[in-house]
């Protein structure tokens, strides 16, 4: 009898806890900072700059969300996570969102109970080898020793790829990109494999980038994007539409410089995004100018891409699949209506 009462009380407590977890938006606003999970350091995507400020393409997504929700793009607490710790950090509530070139897969979405809110970079897994090896194709890698970041989808793709091509290899599991770089440069592995964007970023940080080549084969689809916990749809919507606003802004030509002008003279859709027409913000539980701040924080998607990882940066990635749908790419923001 007593036990029943006891367990009943526990159930109530448990339900209360369950309800509390579905209020990420108000939690963030109350706290005044956004806890955003990023990598431990991948130049161009997320790495501290010379002043110790986090900077990069993934970091910009965090800043845009902070600008939309907290009116301050600098109100972000960056939590560096490894491939292994990122999901635990998100599931346990240590971080509010994860923007850490994480591949959107069925298992992560469905089984691990996360919510991918979109794709901010369409990537694929590639291989990098020293030029001196004279390898020109990934099919010549039989018997190679391969450095690989453990706890990633690339680990599984690698096993699949070598199995499909009937090749042997020796995996060298490594925790972070920095360690991988060190091992690869010391010749402890012949090949380094990760997402092609990551390879470009890593190669750019080498002393002699010209001594290394990224092989032409792309062996997997890696749609990378920010994700949040399953079950808090309101918060998921905030992050999803902030990302969409950045992408739509490029499509409609809203940039960080002309944003004020567009807000008054733009097309109806532009005005809806920027909050001068309709009240889209209040439906998200935010104010009318949420998207305007998000775009003003670092610019639209195209500006962010060009500044952090584009062709004029040392990383030198071309837009490729990540161009707007109007330019033959895959970026396609749903209508703001």
């Amino acid at each position: 009898m007593k036990k029943t009462v006891f367990l009943g009380a526990l159930t109530v407590a448990g339900l209360a806890a369950g309800a509390a977890s579905a209020q990420t938006l108000s939690d963030v606003q109350e706290r005044g900072t956004l806890n955003c999970g990023v990598t431990t350091g991948l130049v161009g995507f997320a790495a501290p700059d010379a002043n110790g400020e986090w900077d990069g393409f993934d970091v910009a997504v965090c800043r845009a969300v902070a600008a939309a929700v907290l009116q301050d793009p600098t109100a972000v607490e960056f939590v560096p996570t490894t491939g292994k710790t990122r999901f635990t950090a998100l599931a346990s509530g240590e971080i509010d969102m994860l923007a850490r070139n994480t591949t959107w897969t069925f298992t992560r979405d469905v089984d691990l109970k996360f919510e991918f809110v979109g794709v901010n970079y369409y990537d694929g897994q590639g291989f990098m080898v020293p030029k001196a090896l004279g390898v020109s194709s990934a099919t010549e890698l039989a018997g190679a020793t391969v450095c690989i970041q453990t706890g990633t989808t690339t680990e599984l793709n690698l096993a699949d790829y070598f199995r499909r091509n009937n090749m042997e290899y020796t995996p060298v599991p490594i925790e972070t990109n920095a360690e991988a770089q060190q091992q690869y440069l010391a010749g402890a592995c012949d090949v380094y494999t990760t997402d092609a964007s990551g390879l470009a970023a890593t190669r750019a940080a080498f002393e002699n980038p010209g001594d290394h080549v990224v092989l032409p084969e792309i062996i997997s689809k890696e749609p990378l994007g920010p994700l949040v916990r399953h079950g808090d749809n309101e918060w998921g919507d905030v992050v999803r539409w902030t990302l969409n606003a950045l992408i739509a802004a490029e499509e409609y030509g809203i940039t960080s410089t002309n944003i004020e002008e567009m807000a008054t003279n733009g097309s109806p859709e532009v005005k809806r995004i920027l909050g001068t027409e309709d009240e889209l913000g209040s439906k998200l539980g935010l104010d009318a100018e949420w998207a305007r701040r998000a775009i003003a924080a670092g610019g639209n998607y195209g500006e962010l891409f060009a500044r952090h990882i584009g062709e004029s940066t040392p990383i030198g990635l071309s837009r490729g699949l990540n161009a707007q749908w109007t330019d033959g790419g895959l970026l396609y923001a749903p209508p703001f209506r």
Binding site: L10, L112, V172
Partner: protein, 404 residues
Amino acid sequence: MTTLSDPPQSSFKLSMLLNDTRYRAYTFQFIALVCVAALFAYLGSNLAQNLEDAGLTISFGFLGDPANYDINQTLIEYDNQMDHWRASLVGVLNTLLVSFLACITATVIGVFAGVLRLSNNWLVRQLMSIYVEAFRNVPVLIWIIIIFTVMTAVLPAPRAFRGEDPEASMLFGAIAFTNRGVYIPKPIFEAGGWAVMLVFLAGVVGAFAYRRYATRLLYATGKLLPMGWPALAIAFVPALLVFFALGQPISLELPELGGFNFTGGINILGSLIALWFALAIYTGAFIAENVRAGILSVSRGQSEAAASLGLRPNRIMNLVVLPQALRVIVPPLISHYLNITKNSSLAIAVGYMDLTGTLGGITLNQTGRAIESILLLMAFYLAISLTISAVMNVYNSSVSLKER
């Protein structure tokens, strides 16, 4: 005349649970037990409740799914289509391998360093204390990383062995030291090879039997038989005879540079070597202090008495001091062995795929089954540690003082 009356039957009343000293202790213990049980029930149901709220259910079904990842050192047959359970077993064996190697090496290093710390030679004594203090007082993770980094930075990559005039060459043309590990020749057993092995093992047993017999004879009659060379002969000569009689059925497969790496031979991974040596020298420093304490615990009179009987110093150490010192050395030695086993979980720092790397690393990550994986991990380590304890306790009781 006596009248016997029955002793008064004590009738149990409920109030006696509190008032009677015979029962009061039980009452309080029972209450404490209920409280502890309630606490654990609360924690358990809280966990279950929160897991359910988070949409997580405890299930070990994932162990049967294909692992889909590869492991660089497998002591049993494994490929990426086998299940997560098999991958965990590969990890367990890798943990056991590195722990076993490190325990043996640490013991050898520890005994030498401990004995030498008490040497009469000032230089040797000081060198050993530097060793002990330096290695004991730096975290083992740092040592693992230092050794691994030095290995990768200093040793040549396999491609340095290539070409007409290579920068590096193999030791005796058979052993290659590279920054990916050490490649050694691999014995290939043809038909009859196992017979040679069996004869050799029988020879080793025979050699020990001979030593025992010689010792008995010495104690019984005082007659001293030669020990060294007959024992060696018993161990090796028959095996060599069979080896040649059967037409050399064991051959060596030498490592050869082919493709990107050496092929053939046995590859001892650099990560295994780094982990093994780091654990061995680190724990060896602790064991050295145990050994020193054990030796100092044997009263001086013992070695003086032995010296007065005319025993030479190394015989005094081997026959008189060390056997008595073992009683003090072995109990803390057990905990050092356990420490080695547990510290081997730092393997991920150098990419050695031990139990923590497979079950607690990749499997946990790819399946997202964190709680189940960690529970299993704990169970595995507990089982390994308790087994080591049990075995060592048996040994301990064999060397401990026999009280009659």
